[in-house]
């Protein structure tokens, strides 16, 4: 199969995930909660971003055993994260049969200059971006899906909004350019010229664009959809919900399932405020979170990626 055909199949799976919610899960039981709530895929990882943020240290690819357990627990697609530039982790995840690899800034980067050459893999990749140039560089490397970055693990939507608006504004600007201005635009964006041409022709990214980072409520999910996301990732927003006291684990499971269901339905009904109002009523308390503005520049995950 040639690389164009291979890419069509990779983007094809991203197309199938549109309008759905991809949930971070840390155990097979959480994966089952996600599937039961209507998630269209799960992201298998050892620590959700909020915990990585609290505990610190180097965050790496998950234990293959955890990934296999989660693959066995659900019938929906399973994604997993590798570190930026860590091609060996990506090869291992491909060998494990994950359906999508997230080359993610949430983990500690392995390379501060280069991302993985993603065309050579059979498994599709999703990568984060803060602006159009970063998105198009990742697509140039072979990413089959883009997610605009928020500040993961905060429960604060502000960074996701900033980056989604930035991407959409830059796309509109490209659409208004004349032929002879496109090379200068590509140079300024640091993006492959051919993909800039595609963006002008399509008026959107040539691969699906999802939102991630900071989504904690049905309203947050609706907001990102209205700003142009085709689907959302929810990281800490579900499994940080509820009382972590082990004696109340049944109660916590119920709370998490309710929040998960509400966010799934909010994405499907993102443009219907009366339904969003119903979905938001009496929900368990959303994750406490931390204001993204309170995070020192050096600790902002979204800044990772080049």
């Amino acid at each position: 199969m040639d690389q164009n055909e291979q890419f069509r199949i990779k983007v094809g799976l991203a197309e199938m995930l549109k309008g759905g919610v991809i949930m971070d899960v840390m155990t097979a039981d959480q994966a089952r909660i996600a599937e039961e709530s209507g998630a269209c895929a799960v992201m298998a990882l050892e620590r959700i971003p909020a915990i990585i943020r609290r505990e610190g240290g180097v965050a790496r690819m998950s234990d293959p055993r955890l990934i296999r357990e989660i693959e066995a627990a659900v019938s929906i697609p399973v994604m997993a994260k590798c570190r930026i530039g860590h091609l060996a982790e990506a090869q291992i995840l491909e060998a494990l049969g994950v359906d999508f690899i997230d080359e993610s800034e949430v983990l500690t980067p392995a390379d501060e200059e280069n991302h993985i050459a993603k065309q050579g893999f059979k498994v599709p990749f999703v990568c984060g971006c803060r602006d159009l140039g970063e998105a198009l560089r990742r697509i140039g490397e072979g990413a089959a899906m883009i997610r605009t970055k928020g500040e993961a693990g905060t429960g604060d939507i502000v960074e996701a909004v900033r980056h989604m608006r930035s991407v959409q504004q830059e796309i509109r600007r490209i659409q208004g350019l004349r032929d002879e201005e496109l090379m200068a635009a590509a140079k300024q964006l640091g993006a492959p010229y051919e993909i800039v041409l595609q963006v002008r022709a399509l008026g959107k990214l040539p691969v699906p664009n999802f939102a991630a980072g900071g989504v904690a409520t049905p309203a947050d999910a609706s907001l990102m959809m209205q700003l142009g996301a085709e689907s959302v990732f929810v990281g800490s927003g579900i499994f940080e919900v509820g009382d972590p006291d082990p004696k109340k684990s049944e109660e916590q499971r119920r709370d998490q399932l309710r929040m998960a269901r509400a966010i799934v339905q909010a994405v499907a009904n993102y443009d219907k405020p009366e339904i969003l109002a119903q979905l938001s009523e009496g929900l368990p308390k959303a994750m406490k979170g931390i204001s993204a503005a309170a995070i020192p520049a050096g600790e902002q995950l979204a800044k990772r990626g080049w």
Binding site: E15, G19, A268
Partner: protein, 211 residues
């Protein structure tokens, strides 16, 4: 000439690509995520996506009963997860399928995403080969009496079936620029008249990204 209004179930999945295919053929795609949106539609497409998610959202939105009534009397095309939803049997799922096509399907039966593939299949109704894209695709394990097999893969396994006004495909005709399957559905199965197609529309839409 009026453009025929064709619904695309838009709860989750690649409804946008089907919409683009329909528009390219001169039909008017209508996104359906609420019961009232089924009014005045000539036909319906149930797209690919996650069948478990779609089944749950059908229940949550109150769309299930009206959709079931619609597809029992009007033309419907299901692709991939859409085939799963139309099938009579599809293994363990959170809610019963619509049961319109008397076939048994097995979800994700080719394996995981690394096992997804594309290959040409012979489709007599289209007069020849068609490039079919299979993504975590279902396999049709049993074909009931009264169900016609429209196409088989090279191993002889059925990958497209029809019965009455319903057709189900294990693959994704909306992901390739070839619009013959959509045109067959609209004109042959649904008996709709299409206005003159926009020049080049059939090839301009969605080549899967980097052509």
């Amino acid at each position: 000439m009026a453009r025929p209004r064709v619904g695309v179930l838009s709860l989750q999945g690649d409804f946008a690509r089907h919409g683009a295919a329909l528009a390219g053929l001169g039909a008017e795609p209508v996104r359906v995520s609420r019961p009232e949106q089924l009014r005045d539609l000539e036909a319906m497409i149930v797209p690919g996506g996650e069948s478990t998610t779609m089944l749950r959202l059908l229940e949550a939105t109150g769309l299930r009963a009206p959709l079931e009534a619609f597809v029992r009397s009007r033309p419907v095309l299901g692709t991939c997860a859409g085939l799963v939803l139309l099938a009579k049997e599809a293994g363990e799922l959170p809610a019963p399928t619509l049961g319109l096509l008397d076939v048994s399907v097995e979800r994700n039966a080719y394996g995981r995403q690394v096992d997804s593939f594309s290959c040409p299949i012979q489709v007599p109704a289209l007069g020849g080969p068609f490039d079919a894209v299979f993504i975590r695709a279902p396999r049709i394990r049993r074909v009931g009496a009264g169900v016609e097999v429209m196409a088989c893969a090279s191993d002889g396994e059925p990958v497209a079936v029809r019965a009455g006004l319903a057709a189900g495909l294990a693959f994704h005709p909306e992901l390739t620029p070839d619009r013959r399957f959509h045109r067959w559905f609209l004109t042959e199965l649904a008996g709709l008249a299409l206005p003159a197609e926009r020049a080049g529309a059939a090839t301009a839409q969605g080549s899967g990204g980097r052509a």
